[in-house]
């Protein structure tokens, strides 16, 4: 099945977000297909968080619609869709063990209790954190906590997973290893991922497609298809070339000075 023929998972139609007189998101239209890994790239303050709040169901848009698997996200009568969210910080309940944190998500998603143990064991094994099943989050490193957060998002078979700069607070070595695993896990589980990042290289390495936003209020400046096959190597020269190409494209719309950078903060 080609990407274009895959069913739509998350669709935004003429989406806009306004706070009083201030417009955070001007107009967004996109359609994310099942199994796609889409990165959202935009300068600071462009309205990415507002967009995430809307497509995660946390707040209703000021205008436009969000469709999840062709169902309206913001209708009172429909059952809310299952979605996973990996926040910038882990947002685990510190007073619950790793297993209990995962169980709470499973219970809330109404996953049959009989399958919990096997699901938890499998996902922890995939993320190489099986040994921390009964550990308190406070006893884990930043990278391990973020792995648990990813496990929580994947565990519930979500329609899609939102990741809001999930690796930005980690050291580079941990972030690299997690990035590499993330691509493998998402391919294995055929997860649909919306990944917000500031790092162009990270977006190029991870994504099938990059939605490049303008400066705020956000619009889609370019829907960029990453022209690289998988698996990818983070240090591959071709990734650097694509990154440089994107930097060239965003110079004007982001109002940047002409200089080569590996990431745009």
């Amino acid at each position: 099945m080609t990407q274009e023929t895959r069913p739509s998972v998350l669709k935004a139609v003429n989406l806009g977000v306004t706070y009083g007189q201030s417009e955070a998101v001007a107009q967004l239209d996109f359609d994310i297909k099942r199994g796609e890994f889409v990165a959202i790239l935009g300068p600071s303050g462009c309205g990415k968080s507002s967009m995430l709040n809307v497509i995660s169901g946390l707040r209703a848009p000021s205008k436009g619609r969000v469709l999840v698997e062709d169902e309206e996200l913001f209708t009172a009568q429909s059952k809310p869709p299952r979605l996973g969210y990996v926040f910038q910080s882990h947002r685990l309940l510190p007073w619950r063990t790793v297993r209990q944190n995962l169980e709470i998500a499973l219970a809330a998603s109404q996953v049959p209790r009989g399958t919990w143990e096997a699901r938890i064991d499998e996902i922890l094994s995939i993320l190489h954190i099986s040994q921390f099943k009964d550990a308190w989050p406070m006893r884990l490193s930043g990278g391990q906590r973020q792995r648990v957060s990813i496990a929580r998002a994947l565990l519930i078979d979500p329609s899609y997973i939102l990741m809001d700069e999930p690796l930005s607070t980690l050291d580079e070595v941990t972030a690299r290893s997690l990035r590499q695993e993330l691509t493998g896990i998402c391919q294995r589980t055929n997860a649909t991922v919306v990944f917000v990042t500031h790092s162009i290289r990270e977006a190029v390495y991870l994504a099938d497609r990059i939605l490049i936003l303008t400066k705020g209020p956000a619009r889609i400046f370019e829907d960029y298809k990453v022209p690289l096959e998988r698996p990818r190597d983070y240090d591959d020269a071709r990734i650097a070339e694509v990154e440089a190409d994107i930097i060239r494209r965003v110079q004007a719309p982001w109002g940047l000075a002409m200089r080569e950078e590996s990431s745009v903060a």
């Binding site: 947002r91 309940l93 809330a108 308190w136």
Partner: protein
């Protein structure tokens, strides 16, 4: 220093009170000899009347504290949910916080004519503002990040209360509970003495003091201290240790 070593030091410090007590006994007529008191203790503790009176005071404290906690919870929720209610209730809470325990005891006992309800209400009135203020502070500093996570993962209201909000405000609750508990014991004794109660710890203490039965005064005091320390270290701190085992 290990926790066992710390405990040993704490007990040693406690034992130092015995020579201090002995010194005090030698220098005043009101302090009994600790040996005499120790000898009388087994008989005192084997008397069913002792336990009946302790039980009566304990029941007054427990019911009053429960009412104070419940009222404190209601007030705290109201104060955080509505600005108007918050403003109005904060006056009541501030006034209650600053009302001297003895005054509250006299007023309640005058109103309730020394009935059981009077004793329980005195404890409730004195302890509720501590709970209200403690819980209000906890709720006001709630972690919105965890709230968002709960919303995204569609956690139900009960799950949110049990697993997100309650553990978050638990430190505030324990801190308030500790203050309220300590105050409850103090105020109940005052109330029992002022209310001319026939039963209860305060009544028996007052009786012994009036008739200058100093051994009995010491025995009631010892029992009182033992109960308060047991409630603090045996119950509240143990519960606290369990609740915060993740730290």
């Amino acid at each position: 220093m290990t926790s066992l070593q710390k405990q040993v030091w704490a007990y040693l410090a406690l034992l130092l009170l015995i020579p201090a007590w002995f010194l005090a006994h030698q220098n005043t007529t009101f302090i009994e000899n600790p040996v005499t008191v120790a000898k009388a203790l087994p008989h005192f503790l084997s008397d069913p009347a002792t336990w009946t009176n302790i039980g009566i005071t304990l029941a007054r404290v427990v019911f009053g504290l429960l009412m104070g906690v419940a009222a404190g919870f209601v007030a705290a929720f109201a104060m955080t949910r509505s600005r108007l209610l918050g403003d109005v209730l904060s006056y009541y809470v501030t006034a209650a916080l600053r009302t001297p325990s003895a005054i509250a005891a006299i007023l309640a006992l005058a109103i309730f004519k020394g009935s059981e309800a009077g004793y329980v209400l005195v404890v409730a009135f004195i302890t509720f503002p501590y709970m209200a203020v403690g819980l209000r502070d906890g709720l006001a500093s709630a972690d919105h990040d965890l709230d968002e996570m709960a919303q995204v993962y569609h956690l139900g209201l009960l799950t949110k209360i049990q697993h997100v909000w309650a553990p978050f405000v638990a430190p505030y609750i324990f801190s308030a509970l500790r203050n309220a508990h300590a105050l409850a014991w103090k105020v109940i004794v005052v109330a029992e003495i002022f209310g001319a109660a026939k039963t209860g710890f305060g009544a028996k203490f007052e009786h012994a003091w009036s008739y200058m039965i100093m051994i009995e005064v010491h025995l009631w005091l010892l029992v009182f201290m033992a109960i308060v320390l047991f409630a603090e270290y045996g119950l509240i701190r143990t519960a606290e240790k369990y609740v915060f085992r993740w730290r």
